[in-house]
């Protein structure tokens, strides 16, 4: 079942003209067509300004398309009437956890969303406990968020979104400000949500290594989806990705360069273990 259906979606930002000049339009998303199935894990790549974050805000109905049709779990984002259903369906996590935490106690922060939805108290308790457990932060329920590490804070933000029982979670560069362990923790939580809870995940990232975890990678450029496929397929296109302001995961890059040296390395290998297996088999082959 499709949970997001984008058909030729367009969106332009209005730029106010200086000194009384007329306002101009800056197109950010142009005729973007993209379907995302329920339970899918999609990574969105693209250079700064390619329209990734605008697309995320369109899904969440923070912005509405200027042309085209965007449906989220069957509701059109264009009208006002389904806006709360849509926002509850599609939860967003942003780059900086410090801008998203509102309470002084972790569990109160996670409870903020369901409280605003008018969820009964007993159920809020259950949802908060479950959400914190899901991201591995159950032991910190009564802590102050300000003394947590970046990765822990970001997982609290994810729990806050989960407590609203969304069907899709959109993460806009959730690890950009985190250290390596923070990145590992957040990615492990996201991956678990998808694999075990069947949550639809849309991960916007500048880290090619993170896109490797997804079922499907979508590359955006100038507001449109220009390349998509499994990570193995997308990362076959080194030169094109470079043109689009991206690069290859280091392991895939090493494979591509070894192939250029004339070695029979299979293209599109993504992980250290797979690459080690491949190189060992070349070493041991007759």
């Amino acid at each position: 079942m499709k949970i997001i259906e984008a058909d030729k979606v367009c969106f332009s930002y209005r730029i106010a003209g200086a000194d009384g000049a007329e306002e101009t339009l800056a197109p950010a998303v142009r005729e973007l067509s993209l379907d995302i199935g329920e339970g899918e894990f999609v990574a969105v790549l693209g250079r700064n300004g390619s329209g990734k974050s605008t697309f995320a805000k369109l899904i969440n109905a923070l912005l509405t398309p200027s042309a085209g049709q965007l449906n989220v779990s069957g509701y059109s984002t264009a009208g006002e009437e389904h806006i709360w259903n849509i926002r509850q369906t599609a939860g967003m996590v942003f780059q900086n956890p410090d801008n998203q935490i509102v309470a002084t106690i972790v569990e109160e922060d996670v409870a903020f969303g369901p409280e605003n939805l008018g969820v009964p108290t007993a159920e809020i308790r259950a949802r908060v406990d479950e959400a914190l457990a899901t991201v591995g932060m159950g032991d910190y329920a009564l802590h102050s968020p300000h003394f947590l590490s970046g990765g822990q804070k970001q997982r609290v933000c994810i729990a806050g979104v989960l407590a609203m029982k969304p069907r899709i979670i959109i993460l806009d560069e959730p690890t950009a400000m985190l250290d390596p362990i923070g990145r590992r923790e957040v990615l492990a939580a996201v991956s678990r949500l998808n694999r075990q809870e069947g949550m639809t995940v849309l991960l916007i990232t500048h880290y090619m290594e993170e896109a490797v975890m997804a079922d499907r990678v979508v590359v955006m450029d100038k507001g449109a989806a220009v390349l998509q496929g499994t990570p193995g397929e997308v990362f076959l296109h080194g030169p094109l990705l470079r043109e689009l302001g991206l690069n290859l995961p280091q392991i895939t890059e090493i494979g591509a360069r070894l192939a250029e040296c004339g070695l029979p390395v299979k293209p599109g290998i993504l992980t250290i273990n797979e690459m080690a297996d491949e190189l060992c088999s070349i070493l041991n082959s007759k």
Binding site: R47, M177, D179, I181, G245, I254, I272, A276
Partner: protein, 292 residues
């Protein structure tokens, strides 16, 4: 041995000293940075690295121990603090959030103007600083808000360069940029180091970025410097780095895995180029494969 530019001796620093939230952030830190050196400083969130870099230009004062710039204690003479802060330039995370002027050039000129320099000198410095970060004079006349993310970041760095610092501390200069934006900014920093001989300290969470640039890495953990060595030596201790919440570049991890599986690769490989060359050689020598 290089002339020592910045020297940290037995530095201890505690936040909220005496309060119930007391937290020792730096615990007997010793570090010497040579003039013209390009050093990486890595550590996980809360390791003390931000506290340490704020000690470099006297934004914080040591509880005990001292910080010497060119051999002089930076806190010895209060009237010299301004000079210390000019000599040690700090570029914080997301510095583009601090851009405020109408044009990029005016923004870059803000620091030198405050130094009370003559107009020609200011103009000269602005031109030089923009060139250093790879922005054209035409871009200088634009509003900072019309630039791309990576360009804005570089404009903000130019603002610090225009103060002609002798030591430049960059805190996560590439965070949030796309891969090409990262490349551009990191290559400009490398070029700037080569052209000016300025001492640079790069703070980053990206082991891949650090690996490409620096000559030496200091690892800080729990307020202590726990490793201080060339990148090859630091990245060969991957399991220890992992325990500290850090990691080694993927290329280094692959080389180490291959060694475990019997590849005869030399120790301490950590860049894509070196790993490719070493693996290609090992496979070709072994198999007599054609290899250009």
């Amino acid at each position: 041995m290089l002339h020592t530019k910045l020297e940290i001796n037995n530095l201890v620093f505690t936040y909220n000293k005496g309060a119930s939230f007391e937290k020792k952030a730096l615990d007997n830190v010793n570090l010497k940075i040579g003039a013209g050196e390009f050093m990486g400083l890595i550590g996980c969130t809360g390791s003390g690295k931000s506290t340490l870099i704020q000690q470099f230009n006297a934004l914080l004062k040591p509880e005990s121990g001292n910080v010497l710039l060119d051999g002089t204690d930076i806190h010895a003479d209060k009237s010299r603090l301004k000079e210390v802060r000019r000599k040690v330039g700090l570029v914080f995370q997301y510095p583009e959030q601090q851009l405020f002027e109408e044009t990029v050039a005016k923004d870059v000129a803000f620091g030198p103007k405050n130094l009370g320099l003559p107009a020609e000198e200011i103009e000269e410095r602005v031109k030089w600083a923009l060139d250093m970060v790879g922005l054209t004079p035409e871009m200088g006349e634009q509003s900072p808000f019309d630039l791309s993310g990576g360009q804005k970041r570089r404009a903000a760095i130019a603002g610090v360069l225009a103060m002609k610092p002798e030591v430049l501390v960059l805190d996560e200069p590439a965070a949030g940029l796309d891969p090409v934006g990262r490349d551009e900014i990191l290559m400009k920093i490398r070029e700037m180091h080569k052209r000016t001989g300025i001492t640079i300290i790069l703070v980053s969470h990206s082991m891949e970025d650090v690996a490409r640039l620096v000559e030496r890495i200091a690892v800080i953990n729990g307020g202590r410097i726990v490793m201080d060595d060339i990148p090859a030596a630091v990245f060969s201790r991957a399991p220890e780095l992992e325990q500290m919440g850090l990691s080694a570049p993927q290329a280094a991890l692959l080389a180490q895995e291959l060694q475990k599986r019997g590849f005869r690769l030399r120790d301490g490989l950590y860049t894509v180029e070196d790993v490719v060359a070493a693996v290609a050689q090992e496979l070709s020598v072994n198999k007599g494969l054609n290899h250009k």
